[in-house]
């Protein structure tokens, strides 16, 4: 995550501690689990991995460090302390251990969510509520002989039965478990995957690849109608960088590596990929490829499709890959585009060669305050027109600006709070910005120090033409911090009857303002119509700029006190919001993917012929629907 990577002395220390704790975790294993876990190192790999593979964030048993019914690490969460102040626990993040004084009031004022009205989640997973595994004995027997570790433990299975859609987490908190995989396997390398897929085909077992588990499209949900044994293929142990090619600036990486590990490991050699999706703490390289992910800094580094040079995928028909690493080819339709966005329906991505860059010399955050959202969008449009977007540029609307404000940690010195007051006075009183209309853009510049400063000036000059005022580095940095913290915040909300989620789209420039206004208004109206008792939070930000349009991200949350079936209401509103997006010329998804959540709109999105094309590929590659997640089509 952004805040992790912008290193300070204490962060390094923290990383070291973290490393130790992870290693300690490894040493304690295997615990008292009675299911067979066969550990066997993958011998197939001839060469030794390029970079040491000792320190990895995600263990086979995710439950050792992660929540079973919420976001992220078990030790990190928002709580209200005894004084009734919000606090972020743990030691992992910049915000960890800090008091956030404004959050309680914001929760109360925005949602009407008070401390008195608390819900309690099921504290621990009750294995008896998990349906017993339907194991394919023949498959299991043969798998055993390959030496690939697997498990049918209830916890392991439940962990891999969901992503992070609201309904998935809500059900877990209520202790409700639906269809879950019957077994989990942990291949160690490409050849392991080849074996597993062969066996799955032979014994007609359903495979669902699992990377980082951060899906928000119901892609990991087991189809309830699936009668075969479902095996979750967890790629998390395929996490090595196999080689780095410094002449061509590429790296060959196993697809199970998660974002933060990939960046940290490359950093050690002085490189980075620059691919930083908001989920990069947990999401995996294979997952990025399978969903067509987008990174925050795509303006410099590109999205996943721009970064990928070579992909290896194991399908029921065999392995698909290209024969060379030419930077561009004219060889018919690019087969990478069958793989990217296939969402686990065609095979398992095992290895990826991707571009790397030297770690930038200099990084600088920034922020600009605009008198209103319209001006802000006009500025972003101009920046895109001049093609001078910094590594990242995001525009938050007024509600999100206030939200960001509420997340300001307690300031230690009177001087800082005095300065804050002064700034506020300057902007609202002296410059006449309406605090209920102003909005803020956050910026991140990267590169040579000199070029960054030059670039910064160019962008601020454009901003000034649209009434923008530079508002400092802190605001910018806090804006990016918000991105990963918000996922934790949802868990706090759920403790107090607030449910919500984010969804995204991409849209041509001339429709950005219209889509933002209409979708937000639609959400408010739908909530009212569906009997939501409190006004919802309906807010958006423009998170990416392109030549011909932008990516828009919506947050939507409401207090569900008084509703009989809050998840159903939530889903109805989200459905309506998506309809509204499509009616306003927005895309079905910019980077979250389709999964099962947005499948119903695929036909109108890509036309019937398009569906037919995709279907015929599926029919050829996987005629028996071994990769039976039923995503996309």
């Amino acid at each position: 995550m952004a805040s992790n990577s912008c290193g300070g002395g204490s962060d390094r220390q923290m990383a070291a501690q973290h490393r130790l704790s992870v290693i300690a975790g490894h040493l304690q294993r295997p615990s008292g689990s009675n299911t067979a876990i066969l550990a066997a190192e993958c011998k197939a790999q001839g060469s030794k991995p390029f970079v040491s593979s000792e320190r990895r964030t995600v263990p086979r048993r995710r439950q050792e460090i992660m929540k079973w019914n919420g976001w992220g690490y078990s030790d990190s969460k928002f709580v209200y302390n005894k004084k009734g102040q919000a606090e972020f626990t743990g030691k992992r993040y910049k915000l960890s251990g800090m008091i956030i004084p404004g959050l309680k009031d914001w929760m109360e004022n925005t949602f009407g969510a008070t401390l008195q009205h608390k819900t309690t989640a099921t504290p621990a997973l009750n294995s008896t509520s998990v349906p017993p595994p339907a194991l394919n004995e023949a498959f299991m027997e043969e798998l055993k002989s390959t030496g690939v570790p697997f498990s049918a433990d209830a916890e392991d299975r439940v962990f891999r039965a969901h992503g992070h859609c609201l309904h998935e987490i809500f059900a877990l908190r209520e202790g409700k478990i639906g269809r879950v995989p019957d077994m989990v396997v942990w291949p160690n390398c490409h050849n392991d995957v080849v074996k597993i897929v062969e066996l799955a085909c032979k014994h007609n077992v359903c495979l669902i690849p699992y990377g980082g588990g951060t899906s928000v499209s119901s892609a990991l949900e087991c189809p309830p109608e699936e009668s075969r044994s479902i095996v979750s293929l967890d790629t998390s142990q395929m996490n090595r960088i196999l080689w780095i090619d410094e002449k061509n600036l590429t790296a060959h990486v196993e697809a199970g590596i998660i974002g933060q590990d990939l960046e940290n490991l490359l950093n050690e050699s002085g490189y980075c990929t620059g691919h930083e999706p908001d989920s990069m703490e947990f999401s995996s390289l294979g997952g990025w490829v399978a969903t067509r992910a987008s990174g925050m800094k795509k303006n410099i580094y590109g999205n996943i499709e721009d970064l990928v040079i070579h992909i290896k995928m194991v399908t029921p028909q065999g392995v698909i890959e290209k024969s060379c690493q030419g930077p561009r080819m004219s060889t018919g339709p690019d087969i990478h585009h069958f793989i990217m966005g296939s969402e686990g329906t065609l095979g398992v991505i095992t290895e990826v060669t991707m571009k790397i860059r030297p770690v930038p010399e200099y990084q600088k955050y920034g922020s600009v305050v605009f008198p209103n959202f319209e001006q802000g969008v006009a500025c972003l449009r101009e920046v895109a027109r001049q093609r001078c977007a910094p590594a990242s540029i995001r525009l938050m609307d007024n509600e999100q600006f206030k939200f960001g404000h509420a997340l300001k940690p307690q300031v230690s010195s009177i001087f800082t709070s005095f300065l804050d007051g002064l700034k506020k006075f300057y902007i609202t009183k002296f410059k006449g910005f309406d605090p209920n209309r102003l909005c803020v853009a956050t910026l991140l510049f990267e590169g040579d120090r000199e070029k960054v400063l030059q670039h910064e000036k160019q962008v601020y000059d454009i901003a000034a033409k649209f009434g923008g005022l530079a508002a400092g580095e802190d605001n910018g940095q806090r804006g990016y911090m918000l991105t990963f913290v918000i996922a934790y915040l949802r868990d706090l909300g759920m403790d107090y009857f607030v449910i919500g989620e984010s969804f995204e789209t991409s849209v041509p420039w001339d429709r950005v303002l219209d889509i933002c206004r209409n979708v937000k208004a639609r959400i408010v109206r739908e909530c009212k119509d569906k009997g939501v008792q409190f006004p919802p939070l309906s807010t958006c930000r423009v998170t990416q700029t392109y030549d011909a349009g932008a990516c828009v991200y919506f947050y939507f949350a409401f207090n569900y006190r008084g509703l009989g079936d809050p998840v159903h209401v939530y889903e109805q509103v989200e459905h309506a919001a998506r309809e509204e997006i499509l009616a306003n010329g927005g895309s079905l998804s910019h980077h979250h993917g389709v999964g099962k959540l947005r499948k119903e709109w695929m036909r109108e999105t890509v036309s019937s012929v398009g569906i037919g094309m995709l279907q015929s590929v599926k029919d050829y590659v996987d005629p028996n629907n071994i990769f039976g997640s039923r995503n996309l089509l």
Binding site: D510, D514, N518, R522, A583, G585, E604
Partner: protein, 679 residues
């Protein structure tokens, strides 16, 4: 006592739904000046910043849409882009409003004075006003009043000014702009002006539509326009025009606003300022040109009393809700939204449907006066009785009370004061309209026009004309309540003509009548079955018919209702048949509209004299033109495209077939009426 109009405004009104408040009452208590200078603090939609005329015009002229059109026209006409731009600027200059609060205040002052003199009361439903107040803050609002009088123009603005609602920008006809001083006052009170015959002037259309769309998108003020396009000469709803409708819908279709709120407004006059002018226009006396001098001369009319006026603000209609399932907004995703495009068939059908829905709402919201019911009854009395012997007043009273009951059964909003003897209400109504009827010796007479002394002996045709004006005024006032009865009346007529009781024979004939009279009575397209069911329900409710799955049969004792309803439509049927016959018997199959109007008027006059025709409605040019329009729609007439003077070719066989169907000689075919493309 009997010959004076009494003001019943103090007496509570009978209205189950909403309470009307007389806004003049308060005005009468305060001073005109302090009223004009009251603090006016309306809240526009989404706190939209006010938009100056210059700013609005600049946005319009600089729009991408106009740039496309300008280039296109420059290419087609081989002009420079600058020349076309200059022309566009001129068009906009002629068109644009210049709303200024100062002039609103002046208007407030003047109107306060004038209205207090003209009207005994102006009733407004406060609940509707509150709803409007709410709506203006949420979405762009389109005010859609019916159009019966020039007074319509500014009465809404006057009410808005009284109640802190943003003053609307109003679409007006260009002739008003030509009036010296008055034109400018109107402009500064928010009126913008549209030419009458735009035809195929592409640039004009472009400027107008961009202007209207920009007003809707900016939302700084409500937009007011008359969906009927013109002032109704007959006080009956006119076929809606769809041009403006498309312009206000488009910003929603294209996602430029979250929603558009349409607000039907029903303005009902007890007595219309222009009544006699309108009647003469219908008889072929040309409409005087709008001029300031004319207005001053007309000040004579200002000394008379025009009774009460009702302004009923209807329920806001959400375009977003109404177009669900009717419009796929994704269709606008693949082309730039600024690109000039003709509305799609889907959008046209929707606009047409919606416009009719608004008109229906206007009709249902209008307030029926006792006088309108009386007119309906008087028109069923043979005209010679009214002009010579007189019709007994007590009989009229009795019948009116009977009709009041029927109207109530049919769900009409009646403007019949409570707590006043019925006879007083009726006397007072008659007194208000003493220019049309007079009471002598217990009888009612139709007023005949005084002719200036002539040197030559009066020709018999002139006698007809003397009666005609008053008769057509009766017709107009009857029309105010026609919509209440029209569906049951069509059914009663269908039963009478087909002599059938079977639904599957009655329904086709009912639909056929709707088609033939599609320019007389407005129905929401595609809802013929619902109209039929409604007719059945209403007739059943008042005990006139029995209804079951297959049959509709006249009930014992239902004859009074049924024959009243048949007689209500008889003038239309007779007039249409007369004109059908004329067309079939005419020498040539080619004729111009003007020739047709003159010939038919002569024919009708002759037949009235020989008592072969009993209705003066056949003299109405409005009805005559409707016949032509209906026949065109039924494809029995074709307009010759080359002709400038509205020349038609008549398909005699088709006209004859229509006539035979109407008389019940042959069963109605499923007429394939061509869809409307009226813009």
């Amino acid at each position: 006592m009997t010959n004076t109009h009494k003001d019943f405004s103090q007496v509570g009104l009978k209205d189950d739904e909403e309470d009307f408040v007389d806004i003049l009452e308060e005005r009468r208590r305060g001073s005109d000046l302090s009223f004009a200078f009251r603090t006016f603090s309306p809240q526009p939609y989404k706190a939209a910043p006010p938009c100056s005329t210059a700013e609005l015009n600049r946005v319009v002229l600089e729009s991408q849409f106009l740039r496309y059109v300008t280039k296109e026209i420059a290419r087609e006409m081989e002009l420079s882009v600058e020349e076309v731009e200059e022309e566009a600027r001129n068009i906009l200059g002629e068109m644009s409003q210049n709303l200024q609060l100062g002039f609103i205040r002046l208007m407030g002052y003047t109107f306060n004075k004038v209205f207090k003199r003209l009207y005994s009361s102006i009733f407004v439903n406060m609940e509707g006003l509150n709803r409007l107040h709410q709506a203006t803050q949420e979405n762009p609002v389109i005010l859609m009043p019916n159009h019966r009088s020039y007074i319509d123009f500014l009465v809404i603005s006057f009410i808005m000014f009284c109640y802190d609602i943003p003053i609307p920008v109003i679409a007006a006809g260009i002739p008003l702009a030509g009036m010296r001083i008055v034109g400018e006052i109107l402009r500064r009170s928010g009126a913008f002006f549209i030419r009458r015959a735009i035809g195929s002037d592409k640039l004009y259309w472009a400027v107008l539509s961009e202007y209207v769309r920009t007003i809707v998108k900016k939302g700084f003020a409500p937009l007011e326009f008359f969906v009927e396009g013109f002032r109704s000469r007959t006080l009956k709803s006119l076929s809606p025009k769809l041009g403006m409708m498309h312009m206000v819908l488009e910003p929603f279709f294209k996602g430029e606003v979250f929603d558009v709120t349409l607000l039907p407004i029903s303005i009902s006059y007890e007595r219309v300022l222009e009544e006699s002018l309108l009647a003469h226009e219908l008889l072929g006396v040309p409409k005087p040109k709008e001029s300031t001098m004319g207005l001053l001369k007309a000040s004579r009319v200002l000394s008379e009393n025009y009774g009460s006026m009702h302004v009923n603000f209807g329920r806001p209609l959400s375009v977003r809700q109404l177009c669900e399932g009717r419009i796929n907004r994704c269709q606008y995703n693949l082309i730039p939204r600024d690109l000039p495009e003709k509305p799609t068939a889907e959008a046209q059908a929707f606009a047409n449907w919606l416009a009719h829905l608004v008109v229906r709402n206007q009709e249902e919201g209008s307030q029926i006066s006792p006088w309108s019911l009386m007119c309906g009854l008087l028109l069923q009395v043979p005209t010679p009785v009214l002009t010579e012997e007189g019709f007994p007043w007590h009989q009229l009273t009795e019948r009116t009370l009977w009709l009041r009951k029927l109207a109530q059964d049919f769900g009409a909003r009646l403007n019949w004061p409570d707590g006043v003897p019925d006879s007083d209400v009726m006397s007072s109504s008659a007194a208000l309209h003493r220019g049309i009827v007079q009471r002598k010796a217990g009888c009612v007479f139709l007023v005949q026009e005084d002719e200036p002394a002539r040197t030559h002996p009066a020709r018999p045709e002139e006698g007809v004309m003397k009666t005609a004006a008053a008769a057509l005024m009766l017709v107009s006032y009857r029309n105010q309540s026609l919509h209440v009865f029209v569906r049951p009346a069509l059914l009663a007529t269908a039963m009478h003509i087909t002599k059938s009781t079977h639904r599957d024979e009655l329904l086709p004939f009912f639909s056929f009548l709707q088609d033939v009279f599609s320019y007389e009575f407005l129905f929401i397209p595609g809802e013929s079955l619902q109209d039929f069911e409604e007719a059945c329900r209403l007739l059943k409710k008042c005990g006139a018919v029995h209804v079951n799955q297959q049959e509709v049969t006249a009930a014992q004792g239902g004859m009074e209702v049924l024959s009243f309803l048949q007689d209500l439509l008889k003038p239309f049927i007779d007039s249409y048949q007369l004109m059908f016959r004329y067309l079939c018997e005419a020498e040539s199959v080619f004729l111009t509209e003007k020739e047709f109007l003159l010939a038919v008027r002569d024919l009708a006059t002759k037949l009235l004299l020989t008592a072969d025709l009993h209705t003066y409605e056949a003299l109405s040019s409005d009805l005559q033109k409707n016949v032509l329009s209906a026949l065109r729609r039924l494809e029995a007439l074709t307009k010759l495209s080359s002709s400038v003077s509205n020349k038609f070719k008549v398909n005699k066989a088709a006209v004859e077939r229509t006539a035979d169907m109407l008389s019940g000689k042959i069963p109605p075919l499923n007429l394939q009426a061509s869809p409307d493309a009226r813009l």
